[in-house]
């Protein structure tokens, strides 16, 4: 049993590497081997400016979502938690959508992602306001529900105020989540924030483990639950907010990956964190490859593919949980 665990991380890393290569190779334009020679400048442009950032973003965002999902499930002690639970991803989407609606997203490539990050920061501040003084997981989750509801209502309002069906369609397409045509700019904006958020999450590893014994048990082990809550909420918020700001909403990764890995890696929350990041990267890369090899001309939005994978998985999970209880 212990030997299986030792092989998980190397296997996941190999999978991520393989899928990253696939992501770079797959696409409508076939890149020949002479892409590395001087002759094929177009091929090099496509490779370096389009395929490479897309693959790297797949890794970074996938890792972010997997890590956030494992962390949140550990903190809330609930395997049904998802990075969107805190409402920060909805607020990030709202911020980005506002920049499209007001027409400022055109000014500069950084405007849309930074608006998304702005939305995420407002969301985290609101969380602090609503759930700040308590260290209660329940209050945190309820605050997240409220934030999500507000953000979703805001997005619906923006859509209904759209000047034309085409403007509304543009917003809807962005919301459905994609990595298509993302650039190194998007990588440059999201990566530092994701790195900081990931560091915050990783420093609260012990608190997650201690919470296996419940809130009283964790506190009796000397854990400062209020500090742990804000490290986690801050970390998850940054990681998820930066991801959504760049890619739109890609769901289910944070929910599905920790579940798949728990039997392989063990249920101890801290040991699940890094493998979930690797698993998330693999899942998002795989989805991004699938969207490009599915038949039909246009790429299906990545968020749609994730939902198509995630929803049946979720259903199967609920079904098996039901059987365990009865």
């Amino acid at each position: 049993m212990m030997t299986t665990r030792r092989w998980v991380m190397p296997s996941l890393l190999a999978l991520v590497l393989g899928l990253a290569i696939a992501s770079i190779v797959v696409g409508r334009i076939v890149l020949g081997w002479n892409v590395w020679l001087d002759q094929d400048t177009i091929g090099r442009t496509i490779l370096l400016e389009l395929r490479l950032p897309r693959a790297l973003l797949g890794i970074v965002i996938g890792a972010a979502l997997g890590l956030a999902g494992a962390a949140l499930q550990g903190y809330l002690r609930n395997p049904l938690a998802d990075p969107g639970t805190l409402g920060v991803s909805s607020m990030a989407a709202f911020g980005a959508v506002l920049s499209i609606f007001f027409g400022i997203a055109d000014w500069h490539p950084w405007v849309l992602p930074l608006s998304g990050v702005g939305g995420a920061i407002v969301g985290m501040a609101a969380l602090l306001l609503l759930a700040g003084m308590t260290a209660s997981a329940l209050t945190l989750v309820l605050s997240g529900v409220i934030l999500s509801a507000i953000a979703v209502a805001g997005i619906a309002l923006v859509l209904s105020l759209s000047p034309s069906p085409w403007a509304a369609g543009e917003i809807v397409r962005w919301l459905l989540g994609a990595l298509a045509d993302r650039s190194l700019d998007d990588l440059a904006i999201s990566s530092p924030l994701i790195a900081v958020g990931a560091a915050l999450i990783l420093t609260s590893r012990q608190a997650l483990d201690a919470l296996t014994l419940g809130e009283m048990g964790a506190r009796s082990l000397g854990i400062d639950l209020r500090r742990a809550q804000w490290q986690l909420a801050g970390g998850v918020g940054l990681v998820v907010g930066a991801s959504v700001a760049v890619s739109g909403i890609i769901g289910f990764v944070g929910l599905v990956v920790p579940h798949l890995l728990r039997p392989l890696v063990g249920a101890k929350p801290s040991t699940l964190l890094v493998p979930s990041a690797a698993g998330g990267a693999a899942l998002v890369l795989a989805g991004d490859v699938v969207v490009r090899i599915l038949p039909g001309g246009s790429e299906v939005q990545l968020g749609v593919v994730m939902s198509l994978i995630g929803a049946p998985f979720f259903f199967a999970l609920l079904y098996s949980m039901r059987r365990q209880v009865t």
């Binding site: 409508r28 490539p109 190194l184």
Partner: protein, 284 residues
């Protein structure tokens, strides 16, 4: 007589138009089906590197047959880059990441808004014509459109009618749309505009019940084989609206430009049908 003169003008201008300058764009990519429809009227197909894949849709695109013979893209940056275009035409509502990617790689694109009036649509045609260095062809297209509008204009002394467009989901053309503009010219007062609806928004059915228009322009669906034309709108309350109904293809609202020719003729025919019906009723 006017029509024959126009044909002569077209013939003369197309023969007399100078060849494209050396620096005129020769690899033009268009990412939007409305812009495609304008582009194919302005430049020979050799200068078109690709149009949008939506232009091949046999139901919604007026240039579907032609588009089958032209290269297309699915509007992804990779495809566009691989075509090495010297001009890209895009809608303001195209995907922002794709535009950012083009900008990074140094590919120049021009953005076009949705035109909100006939004047804006014609200005757009002239702008595209200037960009592709086919000003003369642009004037020909503009002239053809203006001629069609004149032909459909409300005759002197004929009474104005009230009308409303009503598509699936209650989508209508309100004020500040090309459709509304044309309706005004044809002699149809837009009920939606009267209720303050701007651009393309859904219209409440009760507004139609409160002010039944003389003419209800209701959408058509074309089945896969193009033969089935059913009334899309099946709402029970609509049966109470005793307006004259006439087909009005939803695609008339999507694009303007050359589509205006067909659209304004359809509006005029609808108007004339109402006149015919009321004359028939009066003579009974």
């Amino acid at each position: 007589m006017g029509r024959r003169l126009l044909c002569l003008l077209v013939a003369v201008l197309s023969v007399a138009s100078p060849p494209a300058r050396a620096d005129a764009p020769k690899r033009i990519v268009s990412l939007n089906q409305c812009l495609d429809a304008i582009l194919v009227e302005l430049v020979p197909t050799e200068r078109i590197a690709a149009i949008s894949h939506y232009s091949r849709d046999p139901v919604r695109s007026p240039i579907a047959k032609l588009a089958q013979r032209l290269p297309i893209t699915y509007e992804s940056a990779e495809e566009i880059v691989a075509l090495r275009p010297d001009l890209v035409l895009a809608s303001r509502h195209s995907a922002i990441p794709t535009r950012n990617a083009l900008r990074r790689v140094g590919i120049h694109y021009e953005l076009f808004d949705v035109p909100f009036s006939v004047k804006e649509s014609l200005a757009q045609i002239r702008r595209i014509a200037a960009l592709v260095d086919s000003a003369a062809a642009g004037e020909v297209l503009v002239a053809r459109i203006e001629h069609a509008i004149e032909a459909a204009r409300l005759p002197q002394g004929a009474p104005r009618l009230t009308a409303a467009v009503y598509e699936t989901g209650g989508l209508t053309a309100g004020a500040n749309t090309v459709t509304d503009d044309l309706m005004q010219t044809v002699g149809l007062d837009n009920v939606a505009a009267r209720y303050g609806i701007k651009t393309h928004q859904p219209m409440q059915l009760e507004l139609l019940l409160a002010t039944p228009p003389d003419l209800l322009l209701v959408g058509e669906i074309l089945g896969a084989d193009g033969t089935q034309a059913a009334r899309v709108v099946q709402h029970r309350a609509l049966r109470k609206v005793h307006s004259k109904r006439w087909d009005f293809a939803a695609r008339f609202m999507y694009c303007s430009g050359p589509t205006i020719v067909e659209e304004v003729a359809a509006l005029a025919r609808a108007r004339d049908a109402v006149y015919a019906t009321s004359r028939a009723q009066a003579s009974r």
